[in-house]
Symmetry: C2
Subunit: 403 residues, 2 copies
């Protein structure tokens, strides 16, 4: 029997127990022996739950138990998750986690400890929930210079933007709907301000660069400024607004950002709606690829965690992952070029006066959606130029980058 412990009996933790129970037979085949959850660490008790007899309140019981081969960390947050995971690895136990905050902050160090102890630190579920993306990046795209990752990495905001798109609703009403459905927390900041997506793109960028990318340095805009009118403009342009987390390599530098983007109908990410996530990847040999699926939810996330557990149980050696601790200096995104969709109070003549006739050559001007406004798409222009040009104006209603 292969014995494991689960830290945290919340949504994902109870999902892990459920997946192992429901798919017991096939998991046994894959792992080579029966997988059994021996301990579940939680502060609470769960009277009446079949797991109750396996609940422990003291982490020492787990970390000192030589029968425990793999520790599943699904508590969330940095402390005490960090201390617990590190102690497990140091005790020679592999760890599988879904904790994006932990991985984004301490991934490099925990991978190094795992390597030293010849065990594994796996975190497939930390990005994209059930979608395989971490392991494909680490084991399938290794012959490629991955020069772009652009993902819809937050299901809550994608649900909200889809609902605004297909039902013409405003931001506040779709937020309430998402909260009612349990997709958004009562404090929705981590989702709608882009913080969740930011940590996830920091992890993915660290992996493709082989080096720590600090999430605090990734410029992050959420979707709180997106209105029903913006959506109408998008539709008039045949585009959809998506909250993207994106990293692009240019001349050896990485430009990373989280922001709403206008995605055209011929892009693979255009069709990704509702709570689904997708990660678009470009490699210099592979070309375009995309990974799509359930980016969150109890069972899809638990499915990825349990697959990590199985992989950890089958291996007797450390699977090398390059992620150096020294932080990578990200490129200055104000130097990056984008095309901007701009809504301006006034008419196109005023827009041209602002940007200059020369720059306005070849602009596409959107249908007029809101009286007294014009909506237009600029040529490629750096963020800095854009800010300089528009800084003095009080007539900019909104601006959204084009992918």
């Amino acid at each position: 029997m292969l014995q494991i412990a689960v830290l945290g009996y919340g949504t994902v933790g109870s999902g892990v127990v459920e997946v192992i129970e429901k798919n017991q037979e096939l998991i046994q085949k894959k792992a080579g022996d029966q997988v059994y959850v021996k301990h579940v660490l939680d502060l609470r008790d769960f009277p009446g739950d079949p797991i109750q007899e396996r609940i422990v309140h003291d982490y020492d019981v787990i970390v000192k138990d030589p029968e425990i081969k793999v520790v599943v960390e699904v508590m969330g947050g940095i402390n005490p998750a960090y201390e617990f995971v590190k102690a497990a690895l140091e005790a020679g136990k592999s760890v599988a986690t879904s904790n994006k905050a932990l991985v984004a902050k301490h991934g490099a160090e925990l991978l190094a400890v795992a390597k030293e102890k010849n065990v594994n630190f796996f975190f497939e579920a930390s990005v994209g929930g059930g979608i395989p993306i971490i392991r494909p990046l680490n084991t399938c795209l290794t012959a490629d210079d991955v020069d772009e990752i652009s993902g819809i990495l937050n299901g809550t905001t994608n649900y909200m933007l889809s609902k605004m798109t297909f039902e013409g609703l405003g931001f506040d009403s779709v937020l309430k709907d998402a909260q009612n459905k349990g997709y958004a927390e009562s404090n929705p900041e981590a989702d709608i301000e882009g913080h969740d997506a930011c940590r996830k793109i920091a992890i993915l960028t660290s992996l493709i660069m082989g080096q720590q990318v600090n999430f605090e340095e990734i410029p992050t805009e959420g979707i709180t400024n997106i209105t029903a009118e913006d959506i109408k403009y998008a539709q008039a342009m045949g585009r959809r607004i998506k909250l993207l987390a994106t990293s692009k390599k240019k001349n050896g530098m990485v430009y990373a950002r989280v922001a709403p983007f206008l995605v055209s109908a011929d892009h693979a990410l255009y069709g990704i709606n509702d709570v689904f996530n997708a990660i678009f990847v470009h490699g210099n040999m592979l070309g375009d690829a995309m990974f799509y699926g359930s980016g969150a939810g109890k069972l899809p996330t638990a499915s990825a965690v349990v697959a990590d557990v199985i992989d950890a149980l089958r291996r007797t050696e450390n699977a090398p992952v390059e992620w150096k601790k020294e932080p990578l200096r990200l490129a200055d995104v104000t130097e990056a070029k984008s095309r901007f969709f701009v809504r301006l109070k006034g008419d196109i003549a005023q827009a041209k006066a602002m940007f200059g006739d020369d720059m306005a050559k070849g602009w596409s001007v959107s249908n007029i959606i809101v009286d007294g406004e014009c909506g237009f798409i600029t040529n490629e222009i750096t963020e800095k130029q854009f800010e300089t040009i528009t800084a003095r104006s009080e007539n900019i209603v909104n601006r959204i980058r084009l992918l």
Copy 2:
């Protein structure tokens, strides 16, 4: 230095050499040391090509060279690829191959030899070209009961069907175009009759079932019966015709088939056009997932092969894959239920007379596209029932299953 050999200097073989050269530095980082192609086996010489000095004509040079750690087999065909691969594994060398025919036929045996010798037999590139799908199935979806795989697994036919859809062209003219562009062979049978897709779904089904699925037993229809009129009907129904290779589990049995299907606009496979491939997967915990990318082509395929090489070089142990040799008995697809789109010479009254009023309840009848015909969609009905009902009629113009 990590030395490898490449069997076959054709499209993929030269791609492998190119990928290793172009991405040398990053491949070195991932593999832990420089990867060098020491020998290339080919019957031909390549005067003027930098590879010429490394060309060998005798396989013994490779299989007896203790410095060769990994053999790349990209010759295609069964013989002598099978003998060469087996000999390499028996000599304690890992193998990476893109050869779907070899894997479909001898995968179980070659995996067993690799396991016995504690080396690896990898074949990521044999399905979906550069798209990671084999390794995700073997290492990421291991906690799931994968109950459906439906893929667009052949880029040539997807290109042809896309061209028929977007440009209204007929079968013969898009076939000629595909041949001119080098997407289709001068003898296009393997693609257009579905044989290529059939071998690929046999491999995927073997992997999810852990047991040999003989490709000869998978009912396979190609796209040669698809006409410009069928495409017009599809468009009128808001659907697209795709050549799908599909396996579905029901009550422990597997229904596998390759055939054109009418895919609705809300399905993830609807938007996969041109030469792209995509593999849709459903797991009982994961839900829906999809993998998308370049299913063929020199560099994408070579990228997957080289990633296999790197993985093989990093491992000192066999990665277990369950694929028993005993053939799985597939379910009888004539018992499987589908909805059919039918084109019938005559009117809907005649269609109802044929199928019976009761069965015709709730039928959707398509716009009339061709004079003297009616197009309608049946209720769910087994293949056998459908055949029985329509066998006596000479008025059936075509019938296409709905996904």
